[in-house]
Amino acid sequence: MIRSVVATPDRGQLAARAGALLLGAASAALARAAVNGQGAVSGFAAGAAFGAALLGLAVAARWQVRVPPPRALAIGLAGGAVLIGVPLIAHPGLPLMVGMRPQPMAAWIVVTVVVATAEEVVFRGALLDAVSQAAGLPVAIGVTSLAFALIHVPLYGWGVVPLDLGVGIWLAGLRLLSGSVAAPAVAHVLADLATWWL
């Protein structure tokens, strides 16, 4: 789906790139939270702009779109099913707490897909690669998962941090297992879309 362009930057350049990506993602997340007001139009606009900003960061980091391998899509589907299944198993018989059905549904789907995919391209793609090459895989998974959790705090509160930290690590595992950002992107999109019905 999306792969980094093969290049030979040194570790310092990679770390600098990672820092710049992180600052860019943080700025986008904070701007999104600041402008996200009340009502569907505001929510859609803030979400779409946030997704576009992240995709812009990915382009700046020299990522390019490639057709995802079928295996990665299959791993993504399975990974998404797990993310959906865990809360259902953890709380059997209980409906989820926050029913969110913003209208129109089609617009919500489009924005949700864009944002989830853009987050994966940046966090499990460009940023994971850059930090991994600069400081090693464990540090990369820690940094990307922590950043992933933090960017959700302005919209969802601190209570989201433990869960999204685990989700970030899970999505990083999908990336490593499949070798493609397509797997965590598919899983993330599925988990987000499932909230309409859960």
Partner: protein
Amino acid sequence: MSRRAVLILGLGLILVTIGQRAAPTGTLPLYDGVVVEDPYRYLQPPDGAPGHPSSVSDSLPVTGSGSPSLYSATLEQPPQAQVIAEPGALDLPAGTTTVKVTIDPVPPPDPRPPANAAGNVYRFAATSQDGTPLTLIAGTTATVVMRAPASVTVGSIYQLIGDGWQELPTSNGGLPDLFSANVSGFGEFVIVASAAATGAAATGAAAPAASTDGASSASATQVQRPPILLLVAAGLALLALALLAVAATLARGE
């Protein structure tokens, strides 16, 4: 299959499971793209604020020996008041065939809610088909989830117990202005904004935080979002600076 990837997946799955189990009820596994919140609806709206908050009345058939799973919510987006209970949580008198759950915004009862009350007082009730009040079985709880007016992100749910309002242990409910508490009985509940987090910076454009007395008290309890944004910005900036420091160190050494 990469052994390392499997280990990372295992760690992630464990943390996701712990995160879900730690939540008082199920929380969204992820939710991105659009966060839509309707303006808060007041029972007694101050000038310019929307009124007509919704009520809900759900009738749930009793099909087994215990009470059914309860989930009732008002109609706002997201709901301004919800109640959730596991199957068997209610003490059902013999002959109970239906559990009726109601959630209604009500005028503030006596004694008055605390001064920093944010939003409507809601009355939660469960009755049998003939109107007999139903109670929770001793040792079980239901979860009450309430939404505060915009920008109120620090506070607690209070319950009217006896002749006073008592603060309940309150958790985040999935969004910054959603609050949840496990309760051992039904009745009247209200969100009270934290006094330490309130300020007098409200403007005419800001949503009034308290309207339970029917008067506009917009200047009383505005909890602003910048603190949470600043903390998150600080955390992310520290991560970025650490990476940039690594970059600088490496650049010097190469």
